[in-house]
Each structure stands twice: as structure tokens, then as C-alpha cells.
């Protein structure tokens, strides 16, 4: 760990990059707030929300959490498990819709 320390000392990043990311995060948060302010609806709302969300998440992970500078071995270990979550999300979207369908379509009003 001695070595690690030595190496990391010599390679900290310029303060400018942090300030830039910081600023960007504020701007993006403001934009996503504006999505609600102007009451965009439907697909546009969704794509904007998701776009800003992933952009913010990506910036935080890449620069504040230093993933951008980490070696790929670590980055890949962290990102691959997300496929399991993506699969879970996708299937639960389908399942949620199906549950709603089976509550409305048949004779069992609202599942009540």
C-alpha cells in the first residue's frame, strides 16, 4: 500500500476538471428540473428524464468516483452485473403491464 500511496500522490488531477464536472451536474439537474417545470409529457418526458439521469450518473461515476481513470479490470467487474438488473427491469416492466391488464381485462374490477 506504500507504493499505491506514492503513485497516487504523483497523479492527482487538476482542480479544474472537478469544478467542470461539478458545474455540469448543476446544469443537468437544472435541465431535468425544467422537464417537470414545462410539463413535457409522454415519450419526450421519458427520454429527457432518462437522458439527463444517465448523463449525471455517468459523470459522477466517471469523474467523482474516478472510474474514468481506473483500469478496465475494475470497471468491467462493476458494470457487467448491471445486465442482470437491466434484465430484471425489462421483465418487470412487462410483468407490471400484464398485472394491470389482468386487473382490467377480466371481470375482477381493479383487482378489488
Amino acid at each position: 500500500m506504500e507504493e499505491t500511496k506514492k503513485n497516487q500522490e504523483s497523479t492527482t488531477h487538476k482542480i479544474g476538471i472537478y469544478l467542470w464536472i461539478w458545474g455540469l451536474l448543476f446544469v443537468l439537474s437544472f435541465f431535468s428540473y425544467m422537464v417537470d417545470w414545462y410539463q413535457f409529457q409522454g415519450l419526450l418526458r421519458w427520454s429527457l428524464i432518462l437522458f439527463f439521469m444517465f448523463l449525471k450518473a455517468g459523470l459522477i461515476m466517471a469523474f467523482f468516483m474516478h472510474l474514468f481513470w481506473e483500469r478496465y479490470a475494475l470497471v468491467n467487474v462493476l458494470l457487467w452485473p448491471m445486465t442482470a438488473i437491466a434484465c430484471f427491469v425489462g421483465l418487470m416492466v412487462a410483468e407490471g403491464k400484464y398485472t394491470l391488464f389482468s386487473r382490467l381485462f377480466y371481470f375482477f374490477i381493479g383487482g378489488q
Partner: protein, 612 residues
């Protein structure tokens, strides 16, 4: 893939640490292993009885603690299974048992065996003991956290057992704890019982997370010099992948436990739709019981592999050592373990084909499930191909391994029945399922545990277990267990549903009374046979044959410690340096039929070693 073994080519630096070769005409550089990246670990050595044996930070002691506590809960699970079988086989003799009792026993038996016995034993017990030794570390990387992990488990077991003594008794909702019935009147233990179960599971998850982080970081970041991932014994690979699964799957269990507790305590309706009970509409509405099932099985299916993968890994090592032959297709074995682990997150709803979920999921999950059959089959082939042209020691350890192969293949094949969505429809929720999962994740891993106990007992205690008693123990367990679960499949074919307190007033089921009596008798005998092991352990601790160093002539690092049993810090003065994989058995041209992992290439330059 092939590059995994060529990392030596990457290293071109010269070093002062080079050991000169012993063979003539050997370049001294061939034994070069690059220096350590990380300074030696600073260990806390206990001084008093308390810090040495109770709140101990030595992974080996923690492993033994885990082993003992898990075995203790396992024995409770065993006794519960006796009571269940008594009711099923000889109901007239079990007059003291009500349906409430029966369902509580079913539930606690299932939960104890899956989580508190098998998971804790494999990962907590074998993981703690073997990982640091096998990767060549002095201890786990965070010994303090490791200690807390065990005591968390201790508390979790305490809470679990406490539920036997609360009003209403432990929960009787089946080990799957499906709401709404788990938290409604009409199910035993729907009050304090289910709450304590949720609390205990949450504690277990927290404790396990602490341990799991240790196992993973130790394997990834604290290997000794020369120990590449592709030189690790398969035991470590199995435990490693299982731990990864546990770290990613237990969150789903934690979340479902939290949500169910809230449903019970605060009256939220996560899993609770509008419910009419005894003529009254309850205060619930709008929730979805199927959501719980998804969350539960998102945990539950990886959980199956959390139990199975360490067993796969350990049995590979045992078979290899005792057939004096390298494990066949090591790389395939590693990739199969990792592949099974990864795929296990995409198959969970095959437990839910008839649960009323979106019917189109059946196509997806049947396909992913049967894909898993391929790497699993490859592992089976490789085990038996390891036996082929080996030099098989027919000792107790090997018998357990062979018993494992028979039971595992049997259970694996019935898994293909249940994974294939159409075949599952008539068989699900019948005794076929019970027989299947007991065979594949009950008996088969148990065979491995027993084999591992006979194999590593000399390392842990310095004494050999009695072979004679061991063989009696094996045959009683194997033949007994097989005759419990093999016929049980046929109960499922008849259509006998699981979780029936009594079942024989239906015309086509009365025919099975005789079989149930037989199964119950076998169950009593198998359970009793386990006391042979306990007797064997007690006896061998006192008068067993001293083991000496490396009694099995194995290659892997755990047998190469300077003292047997290994002391705190494992390696004495110097950490071992690894030069090869753990499976160089019967190498042509070598003096012995094994070449330990620390043997430098220069010493075996005249042999036909193919892989390092």
C-alpha cells in the same frame, strides 16, 4: 483464454530474487517470480482465551466457528425433518402433531437447511478456512470485519431459534414465505414468527455481506506471488463465484424481507391486494403477491448455486487428488462455474411457471434455464473423465465423491424436467419437486461436505478420521438418502402435492402409503447414521492416527504450511511462491505422482509438465 497461462512472457524484468535452478543447464531465470506488490499483512494476534477462541480474528478459527454453528442448526433441521417424516409415514404415531406444527417444521427445516446450514457451512465454514490457505495469504484481508461477520451470523441464528419460543411459534408459511398467507391469520406463526424470520434473514444478509467482501477481496487482491487466477484450485473458484452470487442476490432477499415486515407491521400494501377474510375486507389493497415471488426468486435461484458451486469446486479437487490425476479440462471447469453463476441471474422465474405471472415469460425462462444445463453437463463429463485412466484411491473421500456424482446427475436430470416449462406444469408443486431439489441441492452438496470433512479433517486437527467408520457412514447415508428421494419422484408423478399434512384419502394416492412408510423409515436411519460421523470425529480427535504433513499427497497450498494444523499467519517466516497449477498429478518423468504448487520449474525440468 490461452493467454492466461502465458503471463510469464509479459514479465521481462530481471530480479535479484531469482532462485537458481537445480537441474543442469537450466537457465536460472525460469524460476523467476516477480516481487510482491503489497507489503506483508499486519495481523492482530490474540492473547487471551477470549481473543484467541471467541472473538477471534483468525480466519481458520472463524471457519471452524461457522462450521460448528452451522452444523448445530443443521442438526435442528434434521430433527425437524424426522418429525415431518414421522407425520407423513406414520401419522398414527404422531398424534401430538397438529397441522400447525407440521407446517412450522416444514418451514423451519427448509430455511435452516438452505440458508443457515448449507450457505453458512460452505461459504462461512469452508470459505473462511480454505481461502487464505489456498491463495497463499496470511489471513483474510479484513480480519476484524470477518469476526463481526461470524457474530452477526450467531445473532441471526439466535433470533431464528428464538422464534420457536414466541407466542404463535415460528412462521409456518413454507420456506418461500409467500405473502399474503405468510402474514395473515390462517398460517401458523403469522405474528411474531414471520417478523423474527425477516429480522433473522436481514441479520444474516448483513453478516454475510461482511464475510463475503472478505472472501472476494482476499481472492482478488491478496494472492501470493505466482498465484494467478488460473492456478487457483477449483474449490476457491467455486466459493468465489458463489460469493459473488450471494453479494448480488441477497439484496433481493433483504428487500423482500423489509417490504414484507412493513406490510405486516405498518399495514402497507406492497404485496397485499384487497383481501376478504372471514367475511371482512382487510385494510389492504392494490399490492401484488407476484412481485414478492419475483424478488424472492431473484434471490432464490442464485441461492441454489450459492450452495451448488462451492460443492462443484470442492468435489473437483477431491476427485482430482484421490484419482491421482489432474482435473480434466480445468479451464472448461472454471468457465463453467463462472458461466453457471452468471446465467443464474437470468433464470429465476422458472420457479414460477404456474404462479400466474405473464405467461410469455415461460418461453424466455425455459430457454435460459436449459442453457444452464450445458455448462453443468460439461462439469459432470469432466468429473468422470478425471476418473478415466486415473489411479483411484477407493477411500472414504472418493466414495463421497462418487456418491455425489450419482445423486447430482440424478437431480440434475430431473432439473431438466422442471426447467422445461411444459413438463413443469404437471409436476410443479408436487413431490417430484421435493425429490428433485433434495437430490440436487440437499444430498449432493451434503455428500461433498462429508467428503470435504474426511479430506480436510487431518489438516484442521492433525489427526485422520477412521476409514472404517467413514465407510459405514457413507453407505448408510448414500443408500438411505437415495432410497428416500428416488422413489419420491414417483409420488410426484402420481400427482401428490407438496406441503400436505396428510394426503391419503384420495383413491389414487392411497396406493402410496407403503412407499411413504418406507421413505420415513429410511429417513430415520439416514439421520441416525450422521451420528456415526460425530462419534468418528470425537473418537479421532482423541485417538486418531496422527496425520503428519500432507497425508493425501495433495498439491494445493493448504497442505504446505510449515506446521500442521496451520498456525495464525499460516506461513511462518515466508509466504509461499507458486509456480504451477494445483493439479500436476502423475506427471510422466516425475519422481512422485504429485508436484506441489510451490515446486519451481527448474526442479521438474526433466518431466513432461504441460501446464503451469
Amino acid at each position: 483464454m490461452s493467454e492466461d497461462f502465458k503471463d510469464k512472457n509479459i514479465i521481462q524484468a530481471q530480479s535479484s530474487e531469482t532462485i537458481s535452478g537445480s537441474g543442469s543447464g537450466v537457465s536460472p531465470d525460469m524460476d523467476y517470480v516477480r516481487p510482491a506488490e503489497i507489503p506483508e499483512q499486519d495481523l492482530y494476534h490474540g492473547h487471551s482465551f477470549i481473543t484467541k477462541w471467541v472473538f477471534c480474528q483468525d480466519a481458520k478459527v472463524i471457519g471452524v466457528q461457522y462450521f460448528c454453528l452451522a452444523t448445530f442448526t443443521g442438526i435442528i433441521g434434521l430433527i425437524l425433518s424426522w418429525l415431518m417424516r414421522l407425520q407423513l409415514g406414520f401419522p398414527e404415531a404422531a398424534g401430538f402433531m397438529t397441522a400447525e406444527h407440521y407446517y412450522q417444521f416444514v418451514t423451519m427445516h427448509g430455511m435452516i437447511m438452505v440458508v443457515y446450514f448449507l450457505t453458512a457451512l460452505f461459504l462461512g465454514g469452508f470459505g473462511n478456512y480454505l481461502i487464505p490457505l489456498m491463495v497463499g495469504a496470511r489471513d483474510m484481508v479484513f480480519p476484524y470485519v470477518n469476526m463481526v461477520s461470524f457474530w452477526m451470523f450467531f445473532v441471526a441464528v439466535g433470533v431464528l431459534l428464538a422464534s420457536f419460543f414466541v407466542p404463535g411459534g415460528p412462521t409456518g408459511s413454507g420456506w418461500t414465505l409467500y405473502p399474503p398467507q405468510a402474514i395473515l391469520e390462517g398460517t401458523p406463526g403469522s405474528g411474531m414468527g414471520i417478523i423474527l424470520m425477516c429480522v433473522s434473514l436481514a441479520l444474516f444478509v448483513i453478516g454475510f455481506t461482511m464475510g463475503g467482501l472478505n472472501y472476494l477481496i482476499t481472492i482478488l487482491q491478496a494472492r501470493t506471488r505466482g498465484m494467478t487466477l488460473m492456478r487457483l484450485p477449483l474449490t476457491v473458484w467455486g466459493i468465489f463465484t458463489a460469493t459473488v452470487l450471494a453479494m448480488l442476490a441477497f439484496p433481493a432477499l433483504l428487500v423482500s424481507a423489509i417490504m414484507m415486515s412493513l406490510d405486516k407491521l405498518l399495514g402497507t400494501s406492497f404485496f397485499m391486494p384487497t383481501i376478504l377474510k372471514a367475511g371482512e375486507v382487510l385494510e389492504y389493497g392494490g399490492g401484488s403477491p407476484i412481485l414478492f415471488q419475483h424478488l424472492f426468486w431473484f434471490f432464490g435461484h442464485p441461492e441454489v448455486y450459492i450452495v451448488a458451486l462451492p460443492a462443484f469446486g470442492i468435489v473437483s479437487d477431491l476427485i482430482s487428488v484421490h484419482s491421482r490425476k489432474n482435473i480434466f479440462g480445468y479451464r472448461m471447469m472454471v468457465w463453467a462455474i463462472v458461466g453457471i453463476g452468471a446465467l443464474s441471474f437470468f433464470v429465476w422465474a422458472h420457479h414460477m411457471y404456474v404462479s400466474g405471472m405473464n405467461p410469455w415469460f415461460g418461453f424466455f425462462f425455459a430457454t435460459t434455464t436449459l442453457i444452464i444445463a450445458v455448462p453443468t453437463a460439461m462439469k459432470v463429463y469432466n468429473w468422470i473423465l478425471t476418473l478415466w485412466r486415473g489411479n483411484i484411491r477407493m477411500n472414504t473421500v472418493m466414495l463421497w465423491c462418487l456418491g455425489f456424482i450419482v445423486t447430482f446427475v440424478n437431480g440434475g436430470i430431473t432439473g431438466i424436467f422442471l426447467g422445461n416449462v411444459t413438463v413443469d406444469v404437471p409436476l410443479s408443486d408436487t413431490y417430484f419437486v421435493i425429490a428433485h431439489f433434495h437430490m440436487v441441492m440437499g444430498i449432493a452438496p451434503l455428500m461433498v461436505i462429508m467428503g470435504a470433512v474426511y479430506h480436510w479433517f487431518p489438516l484442521v486437527t492433525g489427526r485422520m478420521l477412521s476409514e472404517k467408520l467413514g465407510k459405514w457412514h457413507f453407505w448408510a447415508t448414500f443408500l438411505g438418502a437415495y432410497s428416500i428421494y428416488f422413489p419420491m419422484h414417483y409420488l410426484g408423478f402420481i400427482g401428490v402435492p407438496r406441503r400436505y399434512f396428510e394426503m391419503y384419502d384420495s383413491p389414487y394416492m392411497t396406493s402410496a402409503v407403503g412407499m411413504n412408510e418406507f421413505i420415513s423409515t429410511a429417513a430415520f436411519l439416514v439421520g441416525a447414521a450422521q451420528f456415526i460421523l460425530i462419534f468418528n470425529i470425537v473418537k479421532s480427535l482423541k485417538i486418531g492416527k496422527p496425520a503428519g504433513k500432507n497425508p493425501w499427497k495433495a498439491n494445493s497450498l493448504e497442505w504446505l504450511t510449515p506446521s500442521v494444523p496451520p498456525e495464525h499467519g499460516n506461513w511462518g517466516e515466508r509466504l509461499p511462491v507458486v509456480h504451477r497449477w494445483a493439479y500436476d498429478y502423475s506427471v510422466p518423468g516425475a519422481k512422485d505422482d504429485f508436484i506441489v504448487q510451490t515446486t519451481p520449474p527448474s526442479e521438474v525440468v526433466h518431466t513432461k509438465v504441460e501446464k503451469t
